[in-house]
Symmetry: C2
Subunit: 604 residues, 2 copies
């Protein structure tokens, strides 16, 4: 009898078309919890070092955690795990929405794809009825069209569809896997490109089962407390009211949200007024239709966009709205302050199936190269690629997804594009290990330095961001953060904070939680009580932190096995050299924090 | 002033379409000689470990040696160097014909391709006129059609064309690069798949310059001696008369040439009579039209085939004939003894642009899986895949090149196919590091054990085969092989012989020689005298062996950098367990030879 877990995993061999169902390994989830942890261990064990990301022996694993699909609040997550074509490292991307819970309802904790299909296919899962079906009719369609066409052809809109758009088909190295009417994305590390390489256009899943929990009454009690906290705490109200956008204007003001490809004032001042043009409260409200939520989440930070009018009008309205990361990277990081243009850029990324972070960062990189004369119109297909040129950015998104002209170069991501362009362009590619840095500048919180530099997947805000501790000064004694670490430009104890949050988040992600709830459950122990009530285990916070550390080390071990050198544990030179004016002129003091970090991780 | 070398290399960025010419680095060729050595160092330095074989930052280098294109006999070679999509290791493939010398005449020692083109292109080189040209019209054409169409469209048949066929376009992992009217191939390690990934269909090269040599008179004297030896020595006469096929019947009789996927008598007896049905003298003569040669080679081991008649007739006659490796691997290793069928299989591989060794080995692997019930007709698209079924083998070649049905699995090579098929198929995949073992069974000469097992590129007969020493008992005192090592089933000193020949061949290949001349120059010092006369250097045999060792170590270092584990230094279990009846029931005694080998290489 399984609690939380469904106890079954599906293996799909796209080369031989063979599908099998096997039991979940108890020891595996005991050690690696679930989701990215358990799937990561399988990835580590089964993908050989000599296999590239575009290889039939690379695995693509859709995986859930034990609390996914239960009554646990804000835990409807799934992850996609693979060897990343963008970084060559351990790759994972996690997402909310409704797909993860549906997979659990169908009876499975994960689906492991191996091989490469000869022709486009999609996986049909209707409880125990699992088939590979022809997807030729959907190949070339954008992710939203695909989602709707598949449901239409099945004749049952209750199927949850995860699919790629043209970007994944064209092996854009930062292609995303979209779901929820192409509204939500497992976006990072190029997981969509691996899906495209495998010629797997989509998964369509419906399940009628339920996830059994060990102690329903105990779980109800914890959730009661969580919901009370949701309904009273200011920190929850702020996220509920403003969405992930709630902090944007503040983040701009403290130099956390990057502008002009992290060059900030060198190309323009992105001041309070401009931030308000696109942020919330402010210009963002012009595109806002209403609020929405993921499965079983009473916070509801999702936003729905209007179509708008004029040249930046969306194809249609009532579609997924812009998130904080997308607004920052497609907007201010490109010097763009037109909310309608950003709304369109975001919707195009969703339709094509592109990671908005890497897309924005790669366009911002190209803009800086253009501004500095490294690129000219002869290189950019005639585009006047200046910062703030929204029309050029929109044109580039089309080109990238289709790999047309200059887009064929940017489709490789900023690291490869910089090498291909040459002439010193490397300095302006803002990535770690090939993964573009998200919208939190590590000069704004010193814990971000060792975290980004050493993160096995590259620079990703889903692996642990100490910003919320360093900015608020809030203490988290339950996970060992007893003090006020609110001096964000100090390096003291920042390695320790970074590591603690990484481990803690690794556990939360592996269990199935959305990371946005981390300071919003009111008490850290509620996660543990909920986890135990669901699974029937009896773990402590210390056990959870240890499991998180194990998972984090596993990702590192994957990289070592695959030839990733320690020299890649660093940051773009800009962040080590050019002061961030809005953050007390700090640079990242990596020389101070990294030795301590490596020691704490036992990675020296 | 350069002697031997032309002193220039071309860099072509397929992403940005930028072409540049830069000087050859003197220190580089001093240390790494040229060809695969010098290009290998560039590959090592410039391709990051995180880049897969299918990556814009993987390089594809066409490279020549200093003696290529001079009056040096039997030295018209070039190599293609890249990170291999078949092995994930250092990959190289070398070839004869006329392409290498023409590249030198055009003025270049090597051409380095980086990036990925948006659309199919070919590189046009007419002396200093270098252009990337549209190749859309040639995409999808077979290699012979492509070669002829390009020359026709240029309007000058004097252009030498190196190109891929559909197999390279379809990323078959053992696709070759063809040249000389699709008669010659740089075949191994999947170099053609990298070319296909880069959407580079062809290179068309014409040059009117000449290669200056330092001491023309001295060179003339050495070549006089070599030509006299060619005209008098029995060992040369035999190769001249019989081509590479000359040894086939003997190699079958001593258990060197594999039959039935190295399972030999388990599936049938490939006796003298059957060997004579396809070998020379014998059945081979039925398809033989005439002899031919590569550039500046008075041996002339090339063969030209007739079209033949009936169901195995070629599309046309007067095309490249079957070589020893192709006859063995497409023929006896698949249990096929119909010379017309083998002739067709060979021609199909040439047209599609497939490595005949890996193709034959992969089909043989599939046949054994079928015979043993691991595969059935449901897996093979209905093909009755028994050993000896030539019609099925022919059908499979079409399917592999087009990646149709079961061919889509075999297109990945035997190692990946075995993993995808499962059910113990791995045991029957006869490869090292993913590269299929050529037609020399290491159970037939114990030096082959540590050589194949540890060869950085995988199992390849071009990296050093001690068979000719172990079989003939001939001494090569000039390179340190003072004794008669002719007991081929003994393990004594075999590690030393293997290493010596590897180092020596690494030097010869890097200089530009064909390896078939190794025992056919009459004296090893003639290579050194010719090398010095060409380049103006004053090296000794010891220097040459040291340079060879340096190059061999470089390949190993590439692998270590790219995460290739030492555990891959081994052989298929079959060769360690199943005795070879025709070779005194020997297995490979790797436990005896490998420790000594690793010690000599300082690789422990």
């Amino acid at each position: 009898m399984w609690f939380g877990y469904r106890g079954k995993i599906v293996r799909v061999n796209l080369s031989t078309k063979k599908i099998s169902v096997e039991p979940l390994n108890k020891q595996l989830v005991k050690e690696y919890v679930g989701c990215v942890g358990a799937a990561g261990k399988i990835l580590y064990d089964e993908v050989p070092a000599w296999a590239g990301a575009f290889d039939p022996l690379n695995l693509l694993i859709f995986t859930t955690g034990p609390v996914t699909g239960t009554m646990v609040q804000s835990a409807g997550r799934f992850s996609v795990v693979t060897k990343s074509p963008l970084t060559g490292c351990f790759g994972d991307a996690s997402a909310g929405g409704f797909f993860g819970p549906m997979l659990k309802f169908a009876g499975y904790d994960m689906i492991i794809f191996t091989g490469v299909s000869e022709k486009p296919v999609y996986l049909y899962v209707d409880d125990e009825n699992i088939e590979l079906r022809d997807a030729s009719a959907y190949w070339g369609k954008d992710a939203r069209e695909c989602d709707r066409m598949i449901c239409g052809d099945i004749g049952d809109k209750r199927f949850e569809v995860a699919c790629i758009g043209p970007a994944g088909e064209n092996l854009v190295r930062y292609a995303a896997i979209m779901h929820d009417d192409a509204g939500r994305a497992a976006a990072r590390c190029g997981v969509g490109a691996v899906m495209g390489y495998k010629r797997l256009k989509a998964l369509a899943v419906r399940g009628t089962g339920k996830v059994e929990v060990a102690d329903p009454e105990g779980l109800r009690r914890v959730m009661q407390e969580v919901l009370e906290f949701y309904n009273t705490a200011a920190i929850v109200k702020r996220l509920r009211d403003g969405g992930t956008m709630a902090g944007y204007i503040t983040m701009i003001s403290i130099g956390d949200s990057p502008t002009y490809n992290f060059a900030n004032e060198q190309f323009g001042e992105f001041d309070q007024k401009r931030a308000e043009k696109i942020g919330w409260p402010g210009g963002f409200e012009k595109i806002l239709e209403k609020n929405s939520s993921c499965y079983m989440c009473a916070i509801g930070c999702r936003r729905v966009s209007k179509a708008g009018e004029g040249k930046y009008a969306l194809k249609e309205g009532s579609v997924e709205g812009v998130e904080y990361e997308s607004l920052s990277m497609l907007g201010s990081d490109c010097g763009i302050d037109d909310i309608y243009a950003i709304n369109l850029l975001n919707d195009l990324c969703n339709r094509y199936g592109l990671d908005t972070i890497s897309t924005g960062a790669t366009i911002a990189f190209a803009m800086e190269c253009y501004e500095r004369g490294i690129l000219d119109k002869g290189d950019t297909d005639g585009l006047e690629l200046r910062f703030g040129n929204a029309d050029a950015a929109i044109e580039l998104v089309h080109k990238i997804a289709k790999r047309e002209g200059f887009g064929n170069i940017l489709a490789e991501g900023s690291r490869r594009a910089a090498t291909l362009i040459g002439k010193g362009a490397e300095y302006y590619a803002m990535h770690v290990k090939g993964l573009e840095i998200p919208a939190h500048d590590p000069r704004a919180f010193q814990g971000g330095g060792p975290h980004y530099a050493c993160s096995p997947v590259g620079a990703d805000h889903m692996e642990g961001i100490s910003l919320f501790v360093e900015f608020s000064g809030q203490k988290f004694p339950e996970i060992g953060l007893y003090e006020d670490y609110g001096d964000r430009t100090s390096t003291e104890k920042k390695a320790f904070i970074a590591k603690t949050i990484e481990d803690w988040w690794a556990f939360l992600t592996a269990a199935g939680w959305c990371l946005l709830v981390n300071p919003r459950y009111g008490a850290e122990n509620r996660f543990i009580r909920a986890f135990n009530a669901v699974t029937g285990e009896n773990i402590t916070i210390e056990d959870a932190l240890k499991a998180g550390e194990r998972i984090y080390n596993l990702k590192r071990a994957f990289n070592l096995k695959h030839g990733i050198s320690r020299e890649e544990d660093t940051l773009p030179q800009r962040l080590l050299k050019e002061p961030n004016r809005k953050s007390n002129n700090a640079v990242v003091y990596l020389d101070k924090t990294m030795p301590e970090y490596l020691k704490l991780r036992k990675w020296e």
